[in-house]
Structures are given as C-alpha cells and as structure tokens.
Symmetry: C3
Subunit: 154 residues, 3 copies
C-alpha cells in the first residue's frame, strides 16, 4: 500500500467511486496488462465544486483543481478494479478535455493540475506518460474537465 500511503502524505483522500453516467464500464482491462479508464469528471463524492468553462467561469487555478479531481476519481475507480495501486507499471496516455471559451488557450496549464498530481504520487517513471490537452465548447453536466486514461499494469 505504498501508493495509498503516498496519497495520504500528500494530503489527499480517495473519493467514493463515482457512478457511471450511463451504459458503460468505468474501467476495462484488455490484452494481458492494459487498462482503459473511462472519461472521469470533476465531481468529488457526488459534489460539483467546479462547474463551467475556463476563460468564462473558472480561473486556471480552479481548472487545475478540477483536473486533480478527475485523477482522484480515476484512482478510486482503479483501486476498486485492480485492487492495489502499487500494481501500476505506467500511466501510458492521458486524453484531457477542457471546456473552454473560444479564446481560452491555456488548456495545457489546466491539465498540468492532473499530470503533476500523478507525477507527485507515482514519480516520473510511472506517473508521467503521453498526453493530449484539448479544448472543447462543452462537457457533460457542464463540468470543466474530463480525462480518460490508458495504463499498463506490472
């Protein structure tokens, strides 16, 4: 339980596993060691602290906190499905969507909130993967960030 200890040391608590927003799995294993986590939103324990769009309703700092929430939700999903977070070999790729006004260009800074957290928890070797940060005009339920993750297990 090294990773969970690290999460606690950093001052975070894993939230309740979010409910799927429709007909899909939160998490799907494939091949021998790969896992896809479905697009995770920003509500923690069912509570939407951050809603709206970057460049309009939220600051970059708020967007970064929202992006962190996506990761905490993803880790809660992972813990339920792969038992131990110590079993992760690497976060291969993160695809992050940031709800943005037409003239907000700092999606990468917002998504850094997510990838910095992964890096802080898992270290560079495991935590830092490939990434795309994409703007969009709107996300489900008016959340500001949605992140899907591909990872590889040990």
């Amino acid at each position: 339980m090294l990773i969970e200890k690290r999460i606690t040391e950093l001052g975070f608590t894993l939230p309740k596993v979010p409910k799927a927003a429709g007909i899909y799995s939160q998490c799907r294993s494939f091949g021998e060691k790969f896992v896809y986590i479905s697009g995770c939103g920003t509500a923690i324990n069912g509570k939407d602290t951050y809603l709206g769009k970057l460049g309009l309703d939220l600051t970059v700092e708020e967007g970064q906190c929202a992006a962190k929430n996506c990761i905490l939700n993803a880790l809660a999903v992972l813990k339920l499905n792969i038992r131990s977070l110590d079993n992760i070999k690497s976060f291969v790729k993160i695809l992050a969507f940031v709800a943005s006004s037409n003239d907000f260009y700092d999606q990468p800074k917002v998504v850094d909130g997510a990838t910095k957290l992964l890096c802080d928890i898992f270290g560079d070797e495991v935590g830092v993967g490939a990434r795309s940060a994409i703007g969009t005009n709107v996300l489900p339920g008016n959340i500001p960030v949605e992140i899907e993750i591909l990872l590889e297990l040990k």
Copy 2:
C-alpha cells in the same frame, strides 16, 4: 453467425460499409488481437437522416438514434475486415463526440444510444467497455455524433 442473427432479431440491418472520408483506413489491426475502428459517422447507406447539433437542431432521442447509426456503420466496417462478428472478445473503449450547443450537457444520454445497442447485441460481457462522451462545437459534414472504437478479438 450468432451476432448477425441477433442484429436481425433486434430489427436492425447492417448498412453498406461507409466510404472513408479521406486518406485513412476504416479499420486497423495491431498487436496480436487489437483493432481500432476509425471515427464512424451517422449517415446510413450514404443518407444523412440526422444532421446538426444537440441542443440546437436535434432532440436527445434523435441524437441517440444517430449514435446507434455510428455503431451500425462500425459493425459493417468490422464485418468486412474481421469476417465474423462472433470473433469479438470485447469492445474495450469507445470515444464519442457529440456536436453540441454551448449549453447542452447531456452527451452521456446521447451516447447511451450507441452503448445500449452494443450491450443489446453483444451482451454485457463483450459489449460494455470503457467510454468517454465529449461535447464539441462541430463535427465533419455537420453530423451530430462521431464514434471511434478500440476492440479486442478472441
């Protein structure tokens, strides 16, 4: 041909394989058993029954029907490329984009039209994978939904 029988039982017919909209393959195998299907649109047999954006031009119900069309097109592509739809082990991940007005927040409901169909045809075990449902301001040719799929073969 169990899956094709099931499709017929559900009252659906596989459409003609849609033409690629440019320079790419409709379908690409990789590794030993993985397949990526290119972003599938909503026109069936070349006919655009659904065009426009959710929250502006189309109801959620129409969006769900459009999302179903994406899946039917994907299955037509798959049948051509992997011979038998019975050969699918699992639909690993679906990435679905929904053309949306700036204040339309029900992308997951729209995409349920697609994932419910997969579930009805293939059952939970095979048909229900990970998923991300993302809003966007516009899609190619003004289609309302575009879906790409990662799957694993037996």
Copy 3:
C-alpha cells in the same frame, strides 16, 4: 535511414523536437511494441506560422499545411525516442482535432494534409492507419490542429 532519405526526397526537413507544453512525455512506449505520441501542435522550430481557426482565420489549404507540421513534429519526437524511423511497423491510429468555427465542416480535408504526408513517406502499408477527425472550438495556444498518434514498432 531509408525513411529519412525519403523525407528529404519529398523536400521536407525534420524540425527540432518541440518542447513539451507541460508535465508529460512527448512519447511513451508500452507493451512490447506500442508507442503513443502526445498531441503534437503546428509550430515548427518554435515558430507559429499558422494560428487560428478553420472557417474563420485559415483556409483548408493552410489547415492542411498546419496538419503536415503536426506530423513533422511527431516524426522529430519519434526519431529522438525510437532512434530509427525505419523501425516503425505501422501508424495504428491518428486522433486529430481541428479548431473550427461552428459552421466549418471540412475537418477530414484538413487532416488529409497529415495522413497524405504519412502515406507519401511510409507508403500505404505502414503509413495509413485508422483515424478520427474532430472539430473543436479552440486548441492550446490558438493552434489550428493537434494530432496524437498510436503506432506499432517492428
């Protein structure tokens, strides 16, 4: 160095490896032979020749040139990370986002600029994979195109 020779023959030069726009890897290997390249932008050697949105600021032809730039940046990243571009078995999937006005529908034509270049350099067998071309209201730094790539090595 067959592929690099081919790039030169076609009149292109690999640019400097672009700097990551935040906390992530430009490129991540996983499994035995898979590689994900992070979302690549359109600036070449740090210079933004193309900025803005299709349907508003840029013509389709300019968008195609911008899309080509994404590929050249991706190949620069690849060369650094996998040593020889001759070691690529196939470009499995390309996910391309095109910053678009609400009524611009020709994302596939724009992205053809990217996939035609891959096809010209690597040939059909290696260069032509699955693809999704998606519109979006805005991309990081106001770039017109962002492309992430999944590929398989020999």
